[in-house]
């Protein structure tokens, strides 16, 4: 037997970033994953758990109870100081300066030509104090773009300063004499608890100052403490379920994982790897950089036009987006559903009759729905729900019907 595609979750394209020694990197939770019997895969230069025992069981646990994910490979940037919000309005495609303290917003980092360099979540932690969480595989590209945009941002503002009152710092990296954008990825660990029982679990976790949890809205974040150290508790995720992402200094990561596990295991929580994370986000219709998003894709093509600021404010990529607004020739992202169990996968051709019209960007047999689902770019004329296309699954044409995203929506 040979595997035709990598066993791991899909990595972002291009050369994988490595640390200075060229070795793959591990998160502070490596020992825990190994003790749990995880299978590892390369993801953006990191060795990450792809599954522990059964990816289907992990997927199901997140839909029905909860799953705990190590996502410490993700990149974190602090953007701080006078003018930080206005700087983000320029550097990213959305309006961040109006984000209320304690709220989070999904945004995009665009190139001058409007292509997507990365998709990020921005958290406003205090006045002029933002945390930007970016994809692991894009860390260098994001750092480079921020550095270049700091230099050319049309903002004359003072740099740095002390954190505003009540704003915590991570890992001792942040202090006086700040640069405006600081990559703090190596100082902090990120653990996600996702699923309908996530709130119960976080509330019951020893050492978590759960006061922060009360009244925390979706896409909001609160600062608390874990065992006396700073904790950022964010109600965000990448699974289509309610859930939380917890950011702590590296030194507390293992302790936090164990405390969450102690609270969660009795409620059915399982440790979950990248394989289930990928099928969960696909069911939820969420894009994955390197698949649905890339330098060649404009936001509107991926259905992310709503993320882009519509006002007069200048931001990198704006002119290109305005120039392309009337261009109806670019393919657009659609959902495809099929019958049977034979799934179209990333890279498979999509046909309208005998004509190839596009390519699958992500696809799998949906564990929750029990039939194949996929996302693909197709011409706008073929993007209406109900349009019947087909996917070439290794020589067999499997009929697939265009459907609105997401494939799965949790019950409120």
């Amino acid at each position: 037997m040979t595997t035709a595609s990598p066993a791991g979750a899909s990595a972002t394209p291009g050369p994988a970033p490595r640390d200075a020694t060229g070795e793959p990197r591990f998160t502070p939770l490596r020992g825990i994953h190994e003790a749990l019997g995880a299978t590892f895969t390369d993801f953006g230069g990191w060795q990450m758990p792809v599954r522990y025992a059964s990816d289907l069981a992990e997927h199901r646990a997140v839909r029905e109870a909860a799953g705990i994910f190590d996502i410490s490979h993700m990149a974190e940037f602090l953007v701080t100081g006078d003018g930080a919000g206005v700087f983000l309005d320029y550097a990213l495609a959305g309006t961040l300066s109006t984000l209320a303290v304690g709220r989070a917003k999904y945004s995009l980092l665009l190139a001058d030509d409007g292509g997507i360099i990365d998709d990020v979540i921005v958290y406003c932690l205090g006045p002029e104090w933002y945390l930007v969480i970016a994809n692991a595989g894009n860390r260098a590209a994001v750092a480079e773009a921020f550095a270049e945009r700091v230099a050319r941002a049309p903002v004359a503002a003072a740099f740095g300063g002390e954190p505003p009152a009540g704003v915590q710092v991570f890992g001792g990296i942040v202090g006086g004499g700040l640069a405006r954008v600081e990559d703090v990825s190596d100082a902090c660990a990120l653990i996600a608890v996702q699923g309908p029982r996530a709130r119960e679990i976080v509330a019951a976790t020893a050492g978590v100052d759960a006061g922060a949890l009360d009244g925390l809205a979706y896409y909001a974040a609160a600062q608390g403490t874990f065992a006396g150290d700073p904790l950022l508790l964010a109600r965000t995720g990448y699974t289509g379920e309610d859930g939380y992402e917890l950011l702590v200094p590296n030194a507390r990561a293992a302790e936090l994982w164990q405390a969450l596990t102690a609270a969660g295991a009795p409620l059915g929580m399982l440790p979950a790897g990248l394989a289930s994370r990928d099928t969960l986000r696909l069911e939820a219709g969420m894009p994955l950089y390197g698949h649905e998003l890339s330098r060649e894709v404009l936001p509107a093509q991926a259905g992310l036009g709503r993320v882009v600021a519509q006002g007069e404010g200048e931001f990198v990529g704006r002119e290109a987006l305005l120039a392309s607004a009337s261009d109806a020739s670019r393919p657009v992202l659609v959902g495809l559903v099929a019958e049977g169990r034979c799934a179209g996968r990333a890279g498979y051709a999509v046909f309208d009759g005998d004509t190839q019209v596009g390519e699958v960007t992500s696809g799998a047999l949906s564990p929750t729905l029990g039939h194949p689902i996929a996302m693909a770019f197709v011409p706008p004329a073929l993007a209406d729900a109900g349009t019947v296309l087909s996917i070439d699954v290794r020589g067999t044409r499997v009929p697939a019907t265009v459907t609105a995203l997401p494939f799965y929506r949790r019950k409120k």
Binding site: M1, S5, T39, V50, S54, D55, A57, R341, P367
Partner: protein, 128 residues
Amino acid sequence: MTDLNTLHFTPEHEWISIDGDVATIGITDYAAEQLGDVVFVELPDIDAGVTAGQVVGEIESTKSVGELFAPMDGDIVGVNEAVVDDPSLVNSAPFAGGWLIKVRVATAELPAGLLDRAAYVALTGGAQ
């Protein structure tokens, strides 16, 4: 429980159990673990003649697709319908209920390059 020491292994992560002129073929525990949860298995038609190295089936997990090779020349005389109905057998019992095909071999001579269990385990970097 199958005695793994009576099986032959291929470097392509398949196992072969010989009984007279019929070879039973499946994928190994290592292959199943690498694939993750198997969700779909496609097997060949019975009576089809196959040659060594020919792709005769597919094993899909949520994340990957594996191809099943015929390890030797012969005729397909059996396919495991239970695995088609319940692909998780490939993960839960790769050497027993998760077998995939039976081939009536054309010659009693085993193909070159087969491994015993110890050599196969060494190949996959594990300890027995």
